[in-house]
Amino acid sequence: MSRDSHNIDMKVTFAGIEFKNPVVTASGTFGFGREYAEYFDLSELGGVCTKGLTLKARQGNPPPRIAETPMGMLNSVGLQNPGVDAFIKNELPFLKKYDTRVIANIAGETAEEYAEMAQKLSGAGVDIIEVNVSCPNVREGGMQFGVSARAVAGVTRAVKRRSGVPVMIKLSPNVTDIAEIARAAEGEGADAVSLINTLLGMRIDIKTRRPVLANNTGGLSGAAILPVALRMIWQARRAVKIPILGMGGVTSGDDAVEMLLAGASLIGVGTASFTHPGAAIDIRDGIAAYMRENGVAAVSDLTGGVEAY
């Protein structure tokens, strides 16, 4: 329900698409929804963002693919997925049974691959395409695109030409100037940006003197990265007019409110779901509780509400 008995409005209109509440799951942390559907009704979510999809199926990187860190974790999954066609055939019908928005995350090795996937997926009925130009765990594509304003512009242009639904560019935090990259996406017609993807990191086993991850490096997520995410969302908010899906380390309703105030319109919940399967729902309820306690009528009123010094 977008309105509850205390008359707060949780609805968000994002890139022209209405979300019943601002909480969506973050790509790569929620599979295609089946596993967490055993814990709660996916229709309670504003939206579900899929695991990153590639044109052909990918096996991903060898294990170990995870290392715990202080208040966070590194992963080096490397885009293991069944491929875009298998997703449309076997997974999308399951997600469409729920009254929630479906965001399809795509990763390509070339701009043309991204565009081809966007065309297939928008034709199949997803609500938004999230263009992953920021995966730190693959050799081709991924972050290679996301760290260059020119490459981001090129991918955005190619995808916009072929997508029938709004296009959101998922930005990498592993850049010097996030504003420049956000502007490059906006300049080529991106309908929204999402940030941040994981921060590139590493851990070493001091007994074996080898990296903990078989991929040597991986992407850092979890509560540890919240301050970095807030800073970059705030910088991106000031650089572009298109809406922002904010994510990175949100584990509570209060964290989500911070992120809305920094400039996000939607909130992605990722690693928090690993700690608590019902985290996304708790975070949604936490935002609602803050709104009631502080007399906030509409959740969209919080977006960008920070009063900077």
Binding site: G28, T29, F30, G31, R34, E35, Y36, E38, Y39, K51, Q59, G60, P63, P64, R65, I66, A67, E68, M71, G72, M73, N75, V77, Q80, G222, A223, T271, S273, F274, T275, H276, P277, G278
Partner: protein
């Protein structure tokens, strides 16, 4: 297999089994009634660490659920320091357990891999017979042998240093036992190298073998794809999820 649930349960008992090995029991009738041998529970060990810790279910009895673990880091240290009455956040039971617990069963455990096999042995005893082969580094690491003795027809203990039972690995008694050809299935849990050799011996003897694998986990429910192992079925290689497609696999399907 019943659906998993995430809730808070009360510690009823904590015991030290060896220098750094503990067993912890929870009052958890909702979990106990759903659990199948080979499944695991995912436990939130304090507040300072974001990831839960997976533990194979080692025993289920009268609404209580027990896991056995070694203190390896901050999370397991926190768990070992629990006193009865502590409330602990548990998600489970998770994963696919042993499918073959009827008939004449042989369980083969290495180190703490013995723990989940105790639950399997109890279940197998209800319908048939169980024999156990348990391998440890030395007598100081040999845990749960008394429990197995109360459940099994025969218990063969091996130690690497010969300080208890036969000197050597589980392969010695296993090879002899397999020659009898009387076991309908071999259920195995332990270090990967041991599982591989158990799988090979079973294959050679034409015995059905199921292996419970261990891998570093993230979500524990099959969503994050970090705890994968390579499996092969009908010639097709897949990165299977240890937490969801396993932790128990048909040993012939694992790409060792």
């Amino acid at each position: 297999m019943g659906a998993a649930l995430n809730s808070v349960f009360t510690v009823s008992d904590v015991r030290r089994l060896a220098k750094s090995v503990f067993s912890i029991t929870f009052d958890a009738p909702e979990l106990a009634s759903r659990a199948e041998p080979g499944q695991f529970v995912h436990i939130k060990c304090g507040h300072s660490r974001p990831l839960r810790r997976p533990f194979g279910i080692s025993d289920v009895c009268g609404g209580k659920l027990t896991v056995v673990f070694e203190v390896r880091g901050e999370g397991t240290k926190w768990l070992a320091a629990s006193a009865p009455g502590r409330r602990v956040d548990i998600n489970g039971p998770l994963g696919r357990g042993f499918s073959e617990t009827n008939g004449n069963i042989l369980v083969v455990g290495g180190g703490l891999g013995a723990a989940p096999l105790l639950f399997a042995a109890r279940r197998a005893r209800e319908s048939g017979g169980v024999t156990a082969v348990l391998g440890f580094r030395g007598i100081s690491n040999a845990v749960l042998t008394d429990k197995f003795e109360s459940v099994c027809y025969g218990v063969f203990v091996t130690t690497e240093d010969g300080s208890s039972g036969l000197r050597g690995t589980v392969a010695l008694p296993l090879e002899e036992l397999l020659k009898t050809g009387k076991y309908s299935a071999v259920l195995s849990c332990g270090p990967r190298a041991m599982l591989k050799s158990v799988a090979e011996l079973c294959e050679r003897a034409g015995a059905r073998c199921e292996a419970a694998l261990e891998e570093r986990m993230g979500c524990g429910v099959g969503a994050c794809l970090v705890c994968v192992c390579k499996t092969k079925k009908n010639g097709v290689e897949t990165m299977s999820r240890v937490c969801r497609d396993g932790p128990v696999f048909d040993a012939r399907e694992v790409v060792w």
